[in-house]
Symmetry: C2
C-alpha cells in the first residue's frame, strides 16, 4: 500500500480542494499556538459527510491510519503528526445548518468554529453555553470529541450536556445518524455518549444538534478573598444555594498565582491565600444585582470573606477575567507544564499542599501556580521547573499525578489524554476500565486506524 | 446444564437468604402494580458487589440467561419473567454508604429506593433532583439502568445527569469500578454512559455516586390556560428566560385530559385547549414569589395567557399536582395503553392532531388523552380503545408511533424499550444505530445472558 495509491483513489472523490500535499500542506501551521509547520504526507478535507465516509472507507480498506484535525487548539498533543501521517481535517464541514428558536436547538457541521456558533445563537436571542479561551479557533466537532469544559460548567455542564444528537462516521465509513433533537430519548442505547470525549478514536463526528439556552440579561461579577480553604467550600455551597440557580462561574486563584497576575495594582490586597472570581448570569438585572450584593454581605457577616469587590462596569469585569486568564504571565517565566487535574473539593486544599511539598523536595527551585474551576472540582497547576531542572518534567508529573491515585482524582478534568498523558492513565482508571476502553476500540475500529495511540496504546 | 446445578453452585456463596425458590419465590408479586405472582425458577439476591460478581460469573459459565430485578416499577415489561427464568435482584444491595456535604455527593448501592435517598439528602440540607411517582418503590440502580426522567428534567436533566460515577458488573463477573465523584473527568472514555439507559443489557449496576444539589427554599406553582399551542411554546421560552434558572416543571394537559381529571370543580374553567402546570424552585422566597407573579402578569399582557391561578398554599399545590398525576381516572375507563413519546416542540401540536385523526379513522370509538413533560419535548398519550376494539392495540400503536418516523421523534422519551416496544425501535433509530447497539451488546456480553431480548432481539 502506498500513500500515492490512496491519494489517487480519493482525489476524484474529494476534488483538488479536498486533497492537500506538498507546498500547500507545508505552508500550514501545526497548531494554533505552534510556530512549526504541519508534518503530514497528505491532508484530506472532505466537504460533506458522504465524502468523509468515502475517505474513511478508503483509508480502512488500505489499512491506513489517520489523525483527525479540528481547530488544532488541543492541549494534549492529540493532533500531533509525523511526516508520514495522513490527516483528515473537518475544516470544510463548516455550515450552521439550522437554528430553531422554538425548539432552542442548533444543527451544524463539525467544523464550525465555537465563536461562530455563539454569535449565531446570540443573534436569535439564545445562548450556546460552552465558552473557552480558544473560542475563535476551536471547532464544535473538536469540542465534542474532547468533551470540552470551560468557564460555565458549574451551571450548564460540559460540552456533553449541550449535545442532543450527532452524526458520526465510523472507521469503515459507516455513517451513524444519531441526530436526536429532544432533551429526552430513551429508545435504546444513547450512542452519542460513546463518541463524546473519546478524542476521535471511535469515529469522526461530522454533525451535531446542540441545545441552546435563553440569552442572559444580567451579569454580576465579584472578586472575593478568603483566608481559609474551608471558607472557599462554604462560599461555593452558599452561592449555589442562595443565588437561585444563577451561579455560573466559581474560579479560584491561589495566592502566588494572584500575586503574579495582579501585578502592581491588585483589585484586592495580595496578601490572602485564596481569591475567588465569582459570576452569576440572570435575566432580571435589578433583582439579580440586589440579591448578588445581599448574598455577598451575608457571607461577610458569616465570616467567610476577608475582602470583596463587586464589579460596577464592563471594564472592571474584563480586568478581573484577564487576571484569571493571565496564564501568559507564567509562560513568560520559562518552560512550563500546564495540568488540569480534578478531585473532590474536600481533598483539594490538602492535595495542593502535598503537590507543593513534593515539588519542593524533588525540584527545590521550581515554581507552581494554582488556579482553576474549583466549582467543578477542576484545578489547573502550572509548574515551572528551574532552568537547571529542565530535564525534570517527569518529576513534575510525578509530583502532580501520584497523589491523585489515592484520592480517586483525575489526571484530566477537561483537556483529555491525547498522546501526552497516556502513560498516566492508570492513575485515574482501573485496569478493568482501560481493558473495557480497549474492547470498545477494537470492536468499533478493528484495524485501529482512527487517532491510533491516543488515550492508550 | 440444569438450574439445580447452578443453585448448588451459588448457594454456598450467597447463603440461604440469597437464593429464593419454591414457596418463598411464589409468594412474591411480579411487579409493584401487578397482582400476579412472580414467575421464575430462582431469584438470586447477592448482598455485595462481590457476590453479584460471583453470581454472574457462574451464570455466564453455565450459559444461563438472567433477568435483572430492581424495584419492579418499570412500564415496558423489562422485568417480565417466565417460569424457567433466573432472576438476579439487587434488593439486598440497599446501603447508603456516604453523603459528603462539602462535595455534594452521595454514594450508595444500587438497590436503595429513590425515596430513601431523597430523604437522606434532605436531612443534610441537600436534594437529589430526580423525582417520579414510583419513588417509594423504584431503586436508584433501576433509575440508572433506565435513565429515569420525571418532573424536573427541564432544570436538572434526567437520571444520567445526576450520576457522577458507578460500579457495574459485566456478564462474565468483571467488576468495573468507575466510581468517579467529580463533575469533570476526561481521563479516557466516560464508561458510565454505556450502562446508563441500557436497561441492564450490558451490565448490572451495583453502586452509584450521585450529584446532589442545594435544597430549595421556595416553591412557586401556577396553573395556566392557553388558547393556542404557539402560546404554550412562547410561555415556555418566556419562563425559561425570565425566571432566571428556577423553572423546574412545565407540564401541559390537553383539554380532554384536564376535563377528565379536574372533574366537577376545576381550578380553571375547563373550556381551554391547553393547561400548563408550571413550577419554579428557588432559594429566596420573597424575591422568587414577586418575580413569579410579575412574569405571569407579563405573559398575560403579551396575550399568551387565557387564564391563570397562582398557588397560595401547599394544599392548593397538592391539588394541582394530583390533577397532573391523575392517570388513574383514565385507567378506570377501561383497558388502556400509555405512551411516552418525545418529539420537537415545534412539531408537537400538529403531531397530536394527526394521532387523533389516525385513531379516529382506525378506531372510531377510542379515546385519547394527552399530557406530559412538554418542557422536555416529552408527551404522554393514554389511549383507550372501545371494548369492541380491544384487539386493536396494535392499531393504536401504529397511530401513535408511525407519525414519529418523519419527525425524528422517539417512541420512548423516558420509559425505555424493554420487551414492549422493541418491535417499534426502528421508528426512532436507524438500522446502523441498531447494528451498533448490537455490536456493543455482543462485545460486552458475547453469550447474551443479560436481560436477553430487551431493547432488541
Amino acid at each position: 500500500m502506498s500513500i500515492d495509491a490512496l491519494i489517487a483513489d480519493l482525489t476524484p472523490i474529494l476534488g483538488p480542494e479536498g486533497v492537500l500535499t506538498g507546498e500547500q500542506l507545508a505552508s500550514r501551521q501545526s497548531g494554533v499556538w505552534a510556530s512549526q509547520e504541519i508534518k503530514a504526507s497528505v491532508i484530506f478535507r472532505p466537504s460533506s459527510t458522504k465524502e468523509l465516509s468515502q475517505t474513511l472507507k478508503s483509508c480502512n480498506l488500505f489499512g491506513q491510519q489517520v489523525v483527525v484535525h479540528g481547530g488544532l487548539t488541543g492541549l494534549v498533543s492529540g493532533a500531533l503528526t509525523r511526516s508520514d501521517d495522513v490527516v483528515i481535517s473537518t475544516e470544510r464541514l463548516n455550515q450552521i445548518e439550522k437554528i430553531s428558536v422554538d425548539d432552542r436547538t442548533m444543527r451544524l457541521q463539525a467544523g464550525v468554529r465555537l465563536e461562530s456558533a455563539q454569535v449565531a445563537a446570540k443573534k436569535r436571542g439564545l445562548m450556546l453555553p460552552l465558552d473557552l479561551g480558544a473560542r475563535g479557533s476551536c471547532t464544535l466537532g473538536g469540542n465534542a470529541a474532547t468533551n470540552a469544559g470551560g468557564h460555565q460548567v458549574i451551571r450548564y455542564g460540559m460540552m456533553r450536556e449541550s449535545i442532543l444528537g450527532l452524526e458520526v462516521v465510523l472507521a469503515d465509513g459507516t455513517i451513524i445518524d444519531s441526530m436526536n433533537s429532544m432533551l429526552k430519548n430513551n429508545a435504546g442505547y444513547d450512542l452519542k455518549h460513546l463518541f463524546i470525549g473519546s478524542e476521535g478514536t471511535l469515529g469522526i463526528i461530522s454533525r451535531l444538534i446542540l441545545r441552546l439556552r435563553p440569552e442572559s440579561l444580567s451579569q454580576e461579577t465579584a472578586l472575593l478573598a478568603c483566608t481559609d480553604f474551608s471558607h472557599v467550600i462554604a462560599l461555593l455551597n452558599r452561592f449555589d444555594r442562595s443565588l437561585g440557580g444563577t451561579l455560573t462561574a466559581f474560579e479560584v486563584m491561589w495566592k502566588n498565582f494572584y500575586q503574579l497576575v495582579a501585578n502592581s495594582t491588585p483589585p484586592l490586597a495580595d496578601k490572602f491565600p485564596f481569591y475567588i472570581l465569582m459570576e452569576a448570569l440572570g435575566n432580571d438585572p435589578e433583582v439579580d444585582r440586589e440579591r448578588f450584593i445581599r448574598v455577598i454581605s451575608q457571607a461577610e457577616e458569616a465570616g467567610e470573606l476577608a475582602d470583596a469587590v463587586i464589579v460596577k462596569s464592563g471594564a472592571e469585569r474584563d480586568r478581573l477575567w484577564q487576571l484569571r486568564d493571565g496564564v501568559d504571565k507564567i509562560v513568560d517565566l520559562g518552560p512550563s507544564k500546564v495540568f488540569d487535574v480534578s478531585l473532590p473539593l474536600s481533598e483539594m486544599d490538602q492535595y495542593v499542599i502535598e503537590v507543593k511539598q513534593r515539588l519542593k523536595s524533588a525540584l527545590p527551585k521550581s515554581l507552581c501556580f494554582v488556579f482553576g474551576h474549583v466549582g467543578d472540582g477542576n484545578l489547573h497547576l502550572v509548574c515551572v521547573p528551574n532552568q537547571e531542572e529542565l530535564k525534570a518534567f517527569r518529576e513534575v508529573e510525578k509530583a502532580v499525578y501520584n497523589p491523585l491515585a489515592n484520592l480517586r482524582g483525575s489526571i484530566s478534568g477537561e483537556h483529555g489524554i491525547g498522546l501526552e498523558k497516556k502513560d498516566w492513565l492508570s492513575i485515574s482508571r482501573t485496569n478493568d476500565e482501560i481493558q473495557l476502553m480497549r474492547l470498545l476500540k477494537t470492536s468499533l475500529d478493528p484495524q485501529g486506524i482512527l487517532n491510533s495511540g491516543r488515550i492508550f496504546d
